[in-house]
């Protein structure tokens, strides 16, 4: 798979249209890597001139900030901003709502001002510009429910872009009882991903999976690598792996278009 880096682009004297911010999960987590690859396939299919930072990318610091470590967050942010500004990056796209939120909202005050897109917004733009079409026959009629990631939904009020893409897949989109602004967290945010939950009587991801299962879905669509992991674990916990799959919207589009 061809994934050009900014350094390579620079060596050729080129400035890509957009920087793909892969994020730590998208780079290292086995499940999330598949999302990164699916998204790159889409970028290629739409002839998008893009690049990644590769080994020059570092954690955005989101998890450190939510955990309360403002020092570490700002150090990460300033390092990343130096790299991004060095390459004169203007436009960034990412599959990770946490990176999206941090780059978009929290970097400007530290000197990093970019146009930042979640991949569902970016793909939606590609479609409206006529650069990409989604084949609506492959997944036609499948029952799909969408889990809103907190950092895309409530945090940034992006509710429609993912839904618009899902509808274009020709599937049957059903909403959970808690959706959009009232959606329940998957349980991973605020650095919870990296620690055990406090004592309680249930895990958050299990409760959220129950919300999803009530809609009797064949596919649970997500737009966040952490949500993806949490919902996948929830499905395993409920022993429903044979009936329900958890897929990122980018994966669904790549699948629909046979990429």
């Amino acid at each position: 798979m061809i994934v050009p880096t900014m350094a390579e682009m620079m060596a050729q004297g080129k400035q890509p249209e957009v920087l793909f911010w892969v994020g730590a999960a998208g780079s290292y987590d086995d499940r999330a890597k598949k999302i990164s690859r699916a998204f790159v396939k889409i970028l290629h299919a739409a002839n998008v001139d893009f690049a990644v930072l590769g080994t020059e990318e570092s954690s955005t610091g989101d998890a450190a900030k939510r955990a309360g470590n403002e020092f570490l967050f700002q150090m990460q942010a300033m390092m990343n901003i130096e790299v991004l500004n060095g390459y004169e990056v203007k436009k960034i796209v990412t599959c990770d709502p946490h990176s999206f939120n941090t780059l978009k909202n929290e970097y400007p005050e530290l000197g990093g001002k970019y146009q930042v897109y979640h991949h569902t917004q970016f793909i939606q733009n590609l479609i409206s510009e006529g650069r990409l079409k989604i084949d609506e026959t492959t997944l036609q009629g499948k029952r799909v429910t969408f889990h809103d990631p907190c950092y895309l939904g409530r945090a940034n009020e992006v509710y429609e872009s993912p839904r618009d893409l899902i509808r274009r897949l020709g599937v049957n989109l059903t909403e959970m009882k808690r959706n959009k602004s009232t959606a329940l967290c998957c349980g991973a945010g605020g650095a919870q991903m990296f620690k055990d939950a406090e004592a309680g009587d249930k895990e958050v991801n299990v409760l959220r999976t129950e919300d999803a299962l009530e809609t009797k879905p064949e596919i649970i669509a997500t737009g966040c690598p952490y949500c993806n992991t949490m919902m996948t674990d929830g499905i395993k916990f409920k022993e429903k792996e044979t009936e329900v799959v958890v897929k990122d919207i980018a994966e669904l589009i790549a699948e629909a278009n046979n990429l």
């Binding site: 309360g68 009232t182 605020g190 055990d196």
Partner: protein, 438 residues
Amino acid sequence: MQYLPNILFAIALIAGIGFFAMNIRKLTRNIKLGKDINRTDNKSERWKNMIKIALGQSKMVRRPFSGFLHIIVYVGFIIINIEVLEIIIDGIFGTHRIFQGFLGDSFYGFLIGTFEVLAALVFIAVILFWTRRNVANIKRFLSREMKGWPKNDGNFILYFEMVLMSLFLVMNATDLAFQQAGVGNPISQFIAPLFDGFSPETLHTIERTAWWIHILGILVFLNYLYYSKHLHILLAFPNTFFANLKPKGQFNNLASVTNEVKLMMDPDADPYATPETGEEEVVPEKFGASEVTDLNWVQLLNAYTCTECGRCTSSCPANLTGKKLSPRKIMMDTRDRLEEVGRNIDANGGTFKDDGKQLLNDYISPEELWACTSCNACVEECPVNIDPLSIIMDMRRYLVMEESAAPQELNMMMTNIENNGAPWQYNQQDRLNWANEE
């Protein structure tokens, strides 16, 4: 002797309003104990929010049943105040139903008739509220933090409303002249027969008594507010005005940290540089919050505004799955501690004397703070735009940056970010491996 009632009334009025004003001064003093924060930008959007959310109750109706009942009580409360105005004028000048002559029978009748209908609706709404609170097993009214005073407080106000509304109707029903005029008594005409056979003098005494208890009740109610979650009927307005306008995911930037990080990252900076002459050796700033005075004044205003409705808690994923965290409790604790600090200051002649307590640990435990997923459901849900998450985050910051007291796994995660640029222990050089797998 003739002027005795007028004088008594004036005394009651001045005492009631004076005591209230005194408490309001205490309230603003306490709120100002918070750190400064600028929330005066973008005024037009702020006014719009206030009108929509506080005046227009737009977030209340997201839960239609309680939202609808709340609007009845709220509209009733505001409109019946016109009647209170008449009571006050009558009370001071010894007149009786001064607006009647002023506005003419038919318009006056229309007004009072509207009030009577509203009073009846409020009465019904309050009964339904009471039933919801005490009979229907609604989870958010049964939480841990809703025992004792918070529970009683919720009920007291409902009893208050019931009594005030009844007195208003009885006052009208026993006003012989008013009943005989036959306008403006759509409800009280059905109460009037209860008093059939009473002598005009007795009726007059009942009318006067109801009138007096009604106005005294209103003054007591006014002063009760300060001690109650019902302070929200006043503070909802400034609170929605000063609420955060930025995207909910954007957490504030700690400028004090920025300065230190810049120093650390700047190879030319001399960490041992002596401060220039004339420049004071500044006390290093405390990072995050362990006490109410470390919070900003908007957060403290939030605490006083909280209506303890529990909408936040009932949508909190941590709370829904049985964890100790309840965003409502965070707000209640903040207010309780702030009140305690305020009383301490009053008792010690204007300065706070260390009482060996603070918000962290004595009120809010780290276990609660660490259970938060920062999902913003509480912020979204709050009908008066309170931000419990900001307090949770500021307290986490204190735990991590001042006390290095994060849970062990989080410390590992942070070490990994520091060393490997990722929350996991992977080599930075492997960051692009994903592109070539498959």
